[in-house]
Symmetry: C2
Subunit: 430 residues, 2 copies
């Protein structure tokens, strides 16, 4: 472990303790200041970003990546609006989750608290600096930010805004720190006693590499292998709409569908679904039984199941019943988002009850799996982990709780059989 | 990874999917059956335990360990009562945490779900098999149980009761499995894709060894280094009562106090506190300044700070103010439980607000940090981790959530600027 990474993490922890314990109004003001700074420095930010873009173009970076790298004037406006909204949101720190009277003048409350120090590792999109940085400040967490090398100047300028906003309110700017390069990030991943949560935002490879490299809990998902199951009771029009939207609306998104499971009894009606998918430019890879109803499909291979294409390709499998569909999802899926199209309420109920994924839908596109669409406000990421936050994660995923007990001199030696009993009376939370 | 451990974990996952998706009444009946079986087999269970005890005595096992190993008739009665209570508790699976209308006929609900497969590694106390096993069944989780070698016969007989109770209700007995030995447990720790949570119950060394050996999330705590701070405003009688109870009520417990921090201005009144601790058999180790007020204390060494004695030894440090006390706690503590004795409400408020530990108390003994005392029902353990559950953990710590979306054919392509807007209307939960 490098000395420098240790110092960074320790400074982040110190700064966090202060940031997380000042009154809510101070964090409100930090965010208001951030909004002002972003507006004031708009020209300089766009300039820095232009330099990154020029360098990237000179390096022959591909067009879609350039699009993600660009910090346009309109993207900046959206970012400032997001910060303004967050500044007005209710500060959750210290809010009671549960409150219990244990005895007279002995009151237990469970209150929301920051998680602590977050390490964010992301690729190419400089707007992530402000989106995640402002969420971290709102929730009283320190944040170490490692962005892509191609966005170095943009990220540095944005991190400067965050640090200056924190310092302007008398807090320690080290609540936000830039992680210089991959080696520095690697060194930080070893500090599992100083860093509480790693959030990778980027490719499957990035997430997997980080999961393999650290003992710090990782919030996110490596794979988004989503399934859409067309039940025998599926309405044809709904099947077409959901198949097309789930596959084609944004094929590289983690919540796009990769495999279509089709009930054998639906196959005679499958032709139109396949045809419209083909017309939308989707390459179909189907098993032999399904190919009889969509001759344009090529033969699917065993390694197509569970594959995240991230492109206009769709694997198609025939299943004999709902249970076979669910077994396929459990075997090959990534527990991200899976959906059923069915008119039969019992089929819907069984699918929703039995599929063990972070998001399970009936008659809605898998693309709805998203923090904004769920109404969580800004999104930190989508977690396929099974502890802490699961599915789309908003600001609550950056919080933990503490238990506060306010007494008047009580000792446990006075309670127990034949002595005083604890009351455990639930109290209303504020 | 051994083939056998893989098969065990896979079988546990399969069994869990069934256990977690049957109606609540089925899990009620499993627990009722378990209670009946424990009562019916009471004689056989005590016999098996007697053999373990005889073997342990022959092996020269120490008396306190024999006490923990013993499964007395009264311990069995307590266990049966606990299972009966759990059978009557409301089943939380499928319960809504949050419900939101996204649009007409498009309703999102976040519902409680089992975590999945738990690996419990515990030492010597066979009652843990039933306590944790019944909590796992209540919450729809599969459980792999690795107990101490000295309790092999007792554990096996108790695990038999759990398995038979599960099978009697038509479920797969592999929802509960015995992990034979250390090597088998070691092999299971590598299956981070099949096992979702490890809960170690035992010594600091056991917990640390497990944390070091696995990428599976570990729920628990290695250290319980708790502090009691006597503020300048502390009431003397309260200081005495809390110091004695926190240190002496059960010195080997994780929530017993290890270090007493004393405000310089309290020192002139510290004599009586020290005297009563000494009378209670506590060895005092104090810094030079404090020793002037408790001459019976020996000199404290630097490595006494942050040490978990688990015995009647107490380190004592003089601090100049509340902030110095808090800094000491953050530097040397384990973020388990820390308490202040203070009459001054502002000192209480600052301590409760600023100390970043799982449990933070004002004028109450650190020994209150316990799931039963907190009113959580049965306790899975106490977590010093900062994600998922924190502090004393009850059945809720064995649950996660899933997001269910019930629509009527909605696709995201129909929403957005200039199109339909999502309503995000909160709905009452059931």
């Amino acid at each position: 472990m490098s000395d420098r990474s240790l110092k960074m993490a320790e400074a982040a922890r110190r700064a966090q303790r202060r940031l997380g314990s000042v009154p809510p109004a101070t964090r409100d003001r930090v965010l208001e200041r951030l909004s002002t700074l972003l507006a004031e420095r708009r020209g300089a930010l766009v300039d820095e970003n232009r330099r990154d873009l020029e360098q990237a173009e000179a390096d022959g970076v591909a067009a879609p990546l350039l699009g993600r790298l660009e910090l346009s004037d309109s993207k900046l406006t959206t970012l400032i609006e997001g910060v303004d909204k967050l500044a007005q949101d209710r500060d959750l720190l210290g809010r009671e989750v549960r409150k219990t009277e244990l005895d007279e003048n002995l009151v237990l409350s469970q209150v929301r608290s920051p998680i602590g120090v977050l390490l964010i590792i992301f690729e190419s999109r400089p707007d992530a600096v402000i989106q995640i940085g402002s969420l971290a400040l709102r929730s009283g967490n320190s944040v170490l930010l490692k962005g892509g090398a191609e966005a170095l100047r943009s990220n540095r300028a944005l991190i400067g805004c965050l640090r200056d906003a924190v310092a302007a309110e008398g807090l320690d700017a080290d609540a936000v720190q830039e992680v210089e390069d991959r080696r520095a990030a690697q060194a930080l991943l070893e500090h599992d006693r100083l860093i509480d949560l790693v959030i990778p935002r980027g490719s499957n490879e990035l997430v997997r590499a980080i999961q393999a490299a650290t003992k710090i809990p990782v919030l996110g998902h490596a794979d988004g292998v989503c399934h859409l199951y067309l039940d025998s009771s599926a309405d044809l029009e709904t099947a077409v709409r959901l198949a097309v939207d789930s596959k084609c609306d944004y094929p590289s998104a983690c919540n796009a569908v990769e495999t279509l499971l089709v009930h054998r009894d639906f196959l005679p009606r499958f032709g139109p679904v396949a045809r419209i998918l083909t017309e939308a430019g989707v390459e179909l890879r189907a098993d032999r039984e399904a190919r009889a109803f969509c001759p344009q499909a090529v033969a699917v291979a065993e390694d197509d199941w569970g594959r995240e294409y991230g492109a206009l390709i769709l694997a198609i499998r025939t299943v004999g019943d709902l249970d076979e569909a669910i077994d396929h999802i459990h075997h090959y899926g990534s527990a991200h988002t899976d959906a059923i199209v069915a008119a039969d309420p019992e089929a819907q109920r069984r699918f929703l009850n039995n599929v063990d994924s972070a998001s399970v839908f009936a008659n809605a596109s898998t693309r709805f799996a998203d923090g904004f669409r769920y109404g969580l406000g800004a999104e930190v990421g989508i977690s396929t982990g099974r502890i802490h936050a699961r599915g789309p994660v908003g600001v609550e995923g950056l919080l933990t709780t503490r238990w506060l007990l306010e007494g008047s001199g009580q000792i446990v030696g006075e309670y127990g059989p034949g002595k005083r009993a604890l009351t455990h009376r639930p109290l209303p939370v504020d």
